[in-house]
Assembly symmetry: C3
Homo-oligomer: 155 residues x 3
């Protein structure tokens, strides 16, 4: 399994693996935050989820959209929309033999920006906190995409 050993000896790839795992774990925590707010705010999307609150009208009033819950869901969807490109482009970028310190700068900026984005979204902090966090992550991903396409375009 020399191929795998070589990947494991590749610092850029190992760094990408670590940062990708961290940012994906952060994204997964959004599910728990959503569930937590759904339970404390008693605001559910499915009838079977609030069956324990009684039957008929007593349960039905919990089938509603709550501001806090919707806010977490928007933050979660924004994570998906931005972390998916980071995963795909970042993996291919890591395999394209970039400079280690440049790559680390990209990964650290992205993960830091997405964590700050979540804090800014959930607190919520006044704009442009969330907007700037979004654009840092966005710019980092485009920067990796640009370097990939510049050096390795094969159409």
């Amino acid at each position: 399994m020399a191929g795998l050993t070589q990947l494991a000896e590749n610092d850029v790839f190992m760094a990408f693996a670590s940062y990708a795992t961290i940012v994906l774990s952060k994204m997964m925590l959004m599910s728990t935050v959503t569930a937590m707010y759904r339970i404390t705010k008693k605001a559910f999307a499915n009838p079977e989820d609030c069956a324990s609150f009684g039957k008929g009208e007593a349960a039905k009033k919990h089938l509603r959209a709550d501001d806090r819950v919707e806010r977490v869901r928007r933050a979660h969807l924004n994570d998906l929309e931005n972390i998916v490109p980071f995963l795909g482009i970042g993996l291919l970028y890591s395999l394209s033999d970039p400079d280690l310190s440049t790559a680390l700068l990209h990964f650290r900026l992205f993960v830091g920006a997405r964590i700050y984005h979540t804090i800014a979204y959930l607190t919520p902090l006044p704009q442009p906190n969330r907007g700037l966090a979004f654009f840092v992550g966005y710019g980092v991903t485009f920067s990796m995409a640009y370097q990939l396409l510049k050096s390795r375009l094969y159409l």
Copy 2:
């Protein structure tokens, strides 16, 4: 192309490729289920989709949210939120040279849990069927993330 041959000889990687393909194909079927319900329930999101039902008011009444359609869409979004981390973390985990039987246990539990989650969501089965299915998949992904970060952290 020795590197690729080595990947193809790596049992964990080949198993990951098979399970990932199966769970992604299952996720893609959700689009077809949504389309099916949109057509049978005549509930569409875009004016151009119900143009064949006539013009003006006749078509407009089909621009609505239907409970069954929204249920499938929530199941689909939940798939996305959980399968994306599985793909990213699972790929990196597969390349980190884990024990084959441990890796197979992770992949099988995840795919089984997501299929059961879809059944529980669409039937719908009473809680905690869906909740348990969700937490099994969630726990499996975190377990892979933990093993990755424990053995290979590079920040």
Copy 3:
């Protein structure tokens, strides 16, 4: 780092990297289009986003769903639902040593179909333009999944 050099010498993998980067960049542009419409239509999802329009009722009336904004968001979500399987299945397919011209046909059809899907969704073009674009991308991904599972199933 022979393993990486081998990947870089693999034409199918390099082609996948290029097409995946292009289709992910296209998907990321949807965020900018959403932001653009939110600003021109003055329709926001978060109170802090329209704080600059004044306080109280003056700002609150901009917390609304706009048809154009929702259309872009649906196109973006449809991208996510279809590009995630393409990324996962396409990466594994690229590593399974397929015929170069067959692989290129798959990648080109997928990327072309998704670009046309976005045009058809945002214009909007009458159906079945968007429907056909969707099914071409969908079929291409299933075709890659089928070839992967046929040649390499390991459960």
